[in-house]
């Protein structure tokens, strides 16, 4: 089976610091990493390949330096990396992003299962996976936590809903978006690292894709950001001092009204 994994390069939040004076993100020197949820997507694709045979293609849209995340995926066992990169894509919202990725997947062609992380840690929308599914007219299973059965022509997957879990059977081709519970991503092997270093990545620009330029980038994005601001810093920060029982009583006094109003 040909598995396609869509991944995104995001700032590594473990290193993000907040400037206490301006309350803005300090981005200088912050490394970029593979979006955490995408690691589970890569791992699952490699596991399916190991079971059924076939190949794993990783796909990302981003600036030229996003090739780093493709190489990381190859070091984990993916076979091929495709970077979709063009200035024409700048300013894409989730509509334009899913349109562009769908066009790239169409060009890849003989895909079976497409796997995405549930959402990216910078935008947190969870919209691109279902968006690609719709552009390609494919069925989807979102929030996948477990795969019960996998074959060339269908998959049985379990997804997390707010009230419980649902087991779904779905024909291939289809799209999955995955959560952390699914697996534990492997560390790259030495051989994988060598392969990643040597890999010839495929790079496509807007002109290489069969798509309408009006659907790309800022022009192809129905949503527009009009203002970005930092939320007001949290006030308070009151430490209730004293012995544990005195501090607890002081806390209950503070919370009393809200607790009575909200607990049933």
């Amino acid at each position: 089976m040909h598995l396609v994994v869509c991944i995104k390069q995001v700032p590594d939040t473990t290193n993000v610091r907040i400037n206490p004076e301006t309350n803005t993100l300090i981005r200088a020197g912050v490394a970029s990493v593979v979006n955490p949820f995408d690691m589970y997507a890569i791992e699952e694709a490699v596991r399916i390949k190991e079971k059924l045979g076939g190949k794993v293609t990783v796909l990302t849209m981003g600036p030229p330096q996003a090739d780093a995340v493709l190489r990381e995926a190859i070091s984990m066992g993916a076979d091929e990396g495709v970077l979709v990169s063009d200035r024409a894509f700048a300013g894409s919202d989730t509509w334009a992003t899913s349109y562009t990725l769908a066009a790239a997947i169409r060009k890849i062609g003989d895909y079976g299962i497409i796997i995405c992380g549930k959402q990216a840690s910078d935008g947190d929308t969870a919209q691109v996976g279902p968006g690609i599914a719709t552009h390609l007219d494919l069925p989807q299973v979102t929030y996948v936590r477990k795969i019960h059965e996998i074959a060339e022509d269908h998959i049985v997957a379990e997804r997390m809903l707010d009230e419980g879990s649902e087991v779904i059977t779905c024909p291939v081709p289809c799209i999955l978006t995955v959560v952390k519970e699914l697996n534990e991503p492997r560390l790259p092997s030495l051989r994988g690292k060598m392969a990643a270093k040597k890999a010839q990545l495929i790079q496509w620009a807007a002109k290489d894709l069969d798509c309408d330029p009006k659907g790309l980038g800022l022009d192809g994005s129905p949503t527009k950001v009009v203002r970005i601001f930092t939320p007001p810093p949290r006030g308070g920060g009151e430490i209730l001092a004293g012995e544990a029982d005195a501090a607890v009583r002081a806390l209950v006094e503070k919370l009393k009204d809200v607790v009575i109003a909200t607990s049933k």
Partner: protein, 401 residues
Amino acid sequence: MTQEPIKVIADKCVGCSLCVKSCPFGAVVLENKLAVIDLTKCTLCGACVQACRFDSIEMVAKTAEQKDLSLFRDVWVFAEHHEGKINTITYELLGKGRKLADDLGMDLCAVLLGKDIKSRTEDLIARGADKVYVIDRPELEYFQDEIYAAVLIEVVNKYKPNIFLCGATTVGRSLASRVAVKVHVGLTADCTGLDIDPATRNLVQTRPAFGGNIMAAIISPNHRPQMATVRHKVMKESGVDSTRKGRVFVEKIAEALLQSRAKRIRFEKDVSVTVNIAEANIIVSGGRGLQKPENFAVIRDMADVLGAAVGASRAAVDAGWIPYSHQVGQTGKTVCPKIYFACGISGQIQHLAGMSSADIIVAINKDPDAPIFKAATYGIVGDVMTVVPLLTAELKKLLKK
């Protein structure tokens, strides 16, 4: 040569570097006391345009063809339910939707999909809906991505709403995106603020990004309906007025749209959950400071007394002390309760990303330097295993349990 989508006006730029600091993508640098934008990094988010005090950065939006948007009327709400019981997020959407509809002088409508669901329409009208569109079919008994999306696309194209809101639930997020892509409109995820701009009558949608470290205000000026998913517990529920009158429209849907390739085999209710973490008013969360899995009992006891949901940090989930469905934070769930108790949780940035919008945060940790105290409204420095049982006892007294 195509025109650059964003440019610095050299005559106006004074080299103050405000824009450099404002850029979330590190795309602006100063060269010879002049701001220079690296277009390979720039995502045209507009943060620098806002930050500049000298109007020296210009974003050139191509003038989109003007569409007649006056045909699009009414504010719609997706009435999410589970096995016929309307979810509280629906009432929150109706609360906000009522205000938006009144500001625009339009009707508030609910769209309800299900099986044997007609009896629920009165509830939606009592909660503020002027009209309810009902699609009652056996195929709609529970949420199925393809069928629900096909039905919504059909009714949205037929009635042309101006605004369409869904809950930012697993169902809402899986569904709204399919509808927005097919109808070709904008969709803003996980909004925490919705207002009508009095000048343009556009819906201004505010949402957190980068784990809540920045907020973005977003509009969809040339597309209708303006779609948004809305975070739990941010909007106030509408009240109940059983004397309200409304109209019910029962929609017929072509059989062809009621086919799904993906099919449910079974559904299992999560038995470890008594209160849904996303809908909870109060969440009691435990972390590594609990030391061992048995000690989670003190968290559960306190949650029981409060009728609260049980949450956990990533460390506690990864240690296998509690299922993943309880994890709060970047790789877990984002929550917004009235009170969040962080017990034995150090407060790494990934955890804060999931709960920092709670109204009140209470931190209990024995390490006075733990970062959680910086985010907390109230803090107690002490051992969780001592403080939490004392707190549970006091709360029991307060609630006379």
